[in-house]
Subunit: 291 residues, 2 copies
């Protein structure tokens, strides 16, 4: 609990190393193969480092959960937002990083193309409905950012509509933070070349056909437009209250470790504590002894 | 995938060893400290055996999930029902056994005392609403069985109401099985003595106060009535379509391993297969290569 030990060999917290600096964003300059802050050698020792993280994450998550049960009104909540191009590994992060945590403490929502019902509402309606309950770690697999990414690239609404959304999203997120949410916005940054290799892998292995969608190649053909949309979303919505983290994701082992470590740092920084007993411990000890 | 290797040293599948025989149930005769089918030595090698299970469970779960995506209408669904007295370890099983599986494939519902809205409906209404989607492993932490357990012991409805529910539950479950659900009903059997030790442990450790509820001692005072209610539920609802498994739960490491292994056997017995491509693989390979 509250261990001071850091997993980062470099000394700086990973949240500082991966935090997107303010200002203009040039996607091409973000190195997708980098491994900043990784405390080990590489792929070969990643399982050991990740397992060690798992134990600490698990303890912190239990404290968050306990707080949510004891005092739901004031309990802090955590929301991890995962965005990234196809094959960047949103699913892999959920399986390998979020999977380290007790499923009872995880509230996962995967946002697909909005349903007919959802389309009748403001685009943030379904997002609000999916916010995690007290003591929970919410995970958004895609999010409201789709409303300035695919929606912008595919012109699903006119520019004068999507262009107002950045400010709206900033306001929405600032509101969440004011309400006690801790946001961890992760952009999983996969390179154009690595995406091609991963799509080819899926087609080379019949156990991976189900992950392949011909539409992914269509989106790939619009890579520059997507990078432009990502750059705008990262730049315009990189606020103090809810900053962006860009996770180099060409190496899966680093990506998974990094998101787990970011989550651990977030929880460790929340000043969590075990809730006090809301009963008389001495009395209850006697009752149990006599039962 | 579909590996024939068994984890059970005794040769017999765990589902046979733990399956409740038909006929009258005497709770006192069910040994809560037994470890039937465990392939290792005991507590010391349980982490290794459980981790091994984790890898196989994970592969099977991914196949189930893939099937749910490819053909939701015909996809089989799995529902694990967890019942047991306080401290029997429903939460521990979810953390340590269900936690082995990708969170994307797990659909967990914890049933508390019914809300005002839920009370307006038939008691199976909220159960139906929580059934897992195609390709998902549903986990019920408590279930419709509370409506013949706490409801019976505490006389929350008259006997002529709860006494009709056993047949109703059997019919409901048979309907689920006919619709393609695979049910794994687990009764976590903790002994009266072990429950006392676990309650005392919670009171001896401030990091566990949040798990302690004075009401648990009240329920403990009604242990014989609860055992009678459990015996009736186990006996009357132990059908061919949806049999009961009784998990000896005084040893946590065995309990967690056993539920994970039961789930693995269930998935392995479902004849799962990777979905075929619903696109032309050769064409797509060319498209990716040219992209």
């Amino acid at each position: 609990m509250g261990s001071k030990k850091k997993d980062s060999a470099a000394g700086a917290p990973l949240s500082e190393l991966l935090r997107l600096p303010h200002g203009a964003v040039d996607m091409a300059s973000l190195d997708a193969r980098a491994t900043p802050g990784y405390p080990g050698k590489g792929k070969e020792d990643a399982p050991v480092h990740t397992a060690g993280l798992g134990r600490r994450l698990s303890d912190l998550q239990e404290m968050l959960y306990a707080g949510g049960r004891a005092a739901p009104e004031v309990s802090p909540r955590v929301l991890v937002v995962l965005q990234g191009m196809d094959t960047s590994g949103k699913g892999g992060v959920i399986r390998h990083a979020i999977g380290l945590v007790d499923p009872q403490g995880v509230d996962l929502t995967s946002f697909k193309a909005p349903s007919e019902e959802e389309r009748k509402h403001h685009y943030l309606w379904r997002i609000r409905n999916a916010l995690p309950r007290p003591g929970q770690i919410g995970i958004f697999d895609r999010s409201h950012y789709e409303d300035v990414l695919v929606v912008r690239v595919e012109s699903l609404v006119p520019e004068d509509v999507w262009s107002t959304r950045y400010d709206e999203i900033n306001e929405f997120e600032a509101g969440l933070v004011a309400e006690g949410y801790k946001l961890v916005k992760c952009m999983l940054n996969v390179s154009f070349g690595e995406q091609k290799a991963r799509l080819a892998e899926r087609l080379a292995d019949p156990t991976k056909y189900w992950k392949y969608n011909p539409g992914d190649v269509d989106a790939r053909k619009k890579w520059p437009a997507y990078m432009e949309a990502y750059a705008a979303a990262l730049e315009k919505c990189n606020t103090e209250a809810a900053p962006w983290f860009v996770i180099p994701s060409d190496r899966k082992w680093y990506r998974n470790w990094a998101v787990a470590e970011l989550l651990r740092e977030t929880l460790a920084g929340m000043g969590l504590a075990w809730p006090a007993a809301d009963f008389d411990v001495a009395v209850e000890k006697k009752r149990v002894a006599q039962s």
